[in-house]
């Protein structure tokens, strides 16, 4: 293995991991951008999405590609329900109250996962078409590592279009500025918030499926680390900014891989690296790489 192909292999590994973080971060940042709510249960919704897919593929006669659409939709409904139960009654409370409710929801889902699915890991059924290796000039790539960035970019484009060009998207943006004024303009706030949560959870589940296909080990607590990492990715990119979340995800994934690859002695600090990045960003550019700082109107 030459030095160049070694570096290219590391680069591929980094992009593959980064695109996963990016994919999960999209949903995270979208919910925040519109509702100004850090949905700490996002990682656990992600976990729920993977398990739903697992059961769908193994225990129903539905073909796997259809399950890959139905399961995220079901996860979206769970997200919608979660919003109704845990967030909606607190909509007029101080923001910190909702934040604590979100943390509670996260623990609830984790422990529900342990009760329902058991503590032992399960193997994600990866369709064969997504799981074979191709070799390009000495660099080995599993097809899935190629598919994930494509899915991420497609979702990024689709979502940007949705938010900037459609009427619902416009309503979402209006809502992100001011609930009351938006409702005075005839926007059905409850409906828009429901749609936002549905989409955010749908995206989490899509991220979960891609994660499961790459790392096919399912556990009830599997959402915790990816949830935190993608949260960091979203903050690094400028929380609320979808393109920023994608950039942050890639940056984080590449950084992690390069840290382990080039400084093997620091491998144990791999997770710490993400948090150090977060702290540095918060210290020097709190609005993130692509975020615009908003001035509060009095």
């Amino acid at each position: 293995m030459g030095n160049l192909s070694l570096f290219l292999q590391h680069l591929t590994n980094g992009i593959s991991l980064g695109s996963l973080y990016a994919l999960i971060a999209i949903g995270y940042t979208m919910v925040y951008g519109i509702l100004r709510l850090i949905n700490f249960a996002h990682g656990d919704i992600f976990m729920l999405g993977v398990y739903l897919t697992y059961f769908g593929v193994l225990y129903t006669a539905i073909p796997w590609w259809l399950v890959f659409i139905i399961a995220p939709a079901l996860t979206g409904l769970v997200g919608l329900l979660l919003e109704r139960v845990a967030y909606k009654p607190l909509r007029d409370s101080p923001r910190i109250t909702i934040l604590i409710s979100a943390i509670g929801a996260s623990f609830l889902l984790q422990n529900l996962g342990i009760v329902l699915f058991g503590g032992r890991p399960r193997a994600f059924p990866v369709p064969r078409i997504l799981n074979h290796v191709v070799k390009v000039r000495g660099v080995s790539i599993n097809v899935i590592t190629f598919i994930i960035p494509v899915v991420t970019i497609l979702l990024l484009i689709g979502l940007t279009y949705f938010i900037t060009k459609t009427k619902t998207g416009m309503a979402m943006r209006a809502l992100s500025r001011d609930y009351e004024t938006a409702s005075l303009m005839g926007i059905d706030i409850n409906r828009i918030i429901s749609i936002t949560f549905f989409m955010g959870s749908f995206l989490a589940a899509v991220g979960g499926i891609m994660w499961g296909a790459r790392y096919p080990q399912l556990m009830p607590l599997m959402g915790v680390m990816p949830g935190l990492k993608s949260f960091i990715a979203a903050v690094v990119g400028g929380i609320g900014n979808i393109a920023g979340a994608v950039a942050g995800g890639f940056l984080l994934g590449l950084g992690e891989i390069m840290l382990v690859a080039l400084l093997p002695r620091l491998t144990g600090y791999r997770d710490a690296f993400a948090f150090v990045v977060l702290i540095i960003i918060l210290l020097f550019k709190p609005s993130g790489l692509m975020g615009t700082s908003q001035t509060e109107k009095v």
């Binding site: 293995m1 032992r120 080995s140 790539i141 491998t267």
Partner: protein, 377 residues
Amino acid sequence: MKRIGLTLLVLVLACSSWMGLASAQTIKIGVFEPMTGPSAAGGEMTVEGIELANEVKPQVLGRDVEIIVVDNKSDKVEAANAVSRLIERDKVVAIIGSYGSSLSMAAGDIVNKAQIPAVGCSPTNPLVTLNNDYYFRVCFIDPFQGTVMANYAVNELGAKTAAVIQDVTQDYSVGLSKYFIDAFRRLTGDPNSIVEISAYNTGDQDFTAQLTNVKNKNPDVIFAPGNYGESALLIRQARDLGIDVPFLGGDTWEAPEFLSIGGEAVEGAVFSTHFTAEAPVTPESDRFLSLYREKFGKEANAFAALGYDAYMVILDVIEKVGSADPQAIRDGLAQVEGFVGATGIISLDENGDAVKSAVINRVEDGKFVYLTTVEPQ
């Protein structure tokens, strides 16, 4: 009014003395094992064996034996909490556990201070029992296991170089890697025969960076002891990266999850373990295997067998010393000699460790297949 009060008092006294009698009659044995988290499969398999043993032998000295299982969540802090709870709240006279050397070591100080004897089923790091008069185990230890695998790599596979990938958060993995490295260097006579030592943490899912570095060094064989889940993902990713040399590991790989998560990638993986249903070693093995088959409808694994043995050893000691006092049990455990268990003849040495043979298994067609048995020197 007075009379009613008196009657009540007598009733309460009668009740409490009856309850006191009842609790004096049951002997409580605590079990702390990982039932959730990255080691959940290991804990569950072990507890199956312990529960089976409890059903087979539910009484000793004419008293009922109750086992109290506490989940240590594969976490060192939780392991310490679990053991404290068993000792302080449940007043157990002896403790069984835990799968995972780090988890057992987290409990070591507590059982030592409380003077409650503990018997480990499968923690193989030497430090679990070293300098701890109250910790024993029914399995072999890693200096032996590491040597067995190094021997296999050099003599059976003809390996001249090896790479080691260890989980730095697991004492088990770090310890076993160290003994493998020492033995491999000694056997090849080449201090540079270990070409790469890589590290990862429990819970990591992505190992591509480490594996790419390992691939660049072209080892003949890779030794990667660690949790079954992480190891299965690691080997999968290695095959994706085009690494096709054999993978070797330790006893933690013996879990159905290693096969289901690893899929085709783990075919040919070789590891050492404590016991296999394919090669019963004592009459007790046969008995255990048929009992297990009856209860669970499948073949037993090494961890269930070790759980079964740990329970049986404790009950045997209680019977011999004629007392369920923790100190008496400890003194009895220190004397265990030639106990016929399902996993072999158990004699505990001065550290409280069993000296037993190791079994080598290989993954073939999605199953663990018995290769050979290695006797201790």
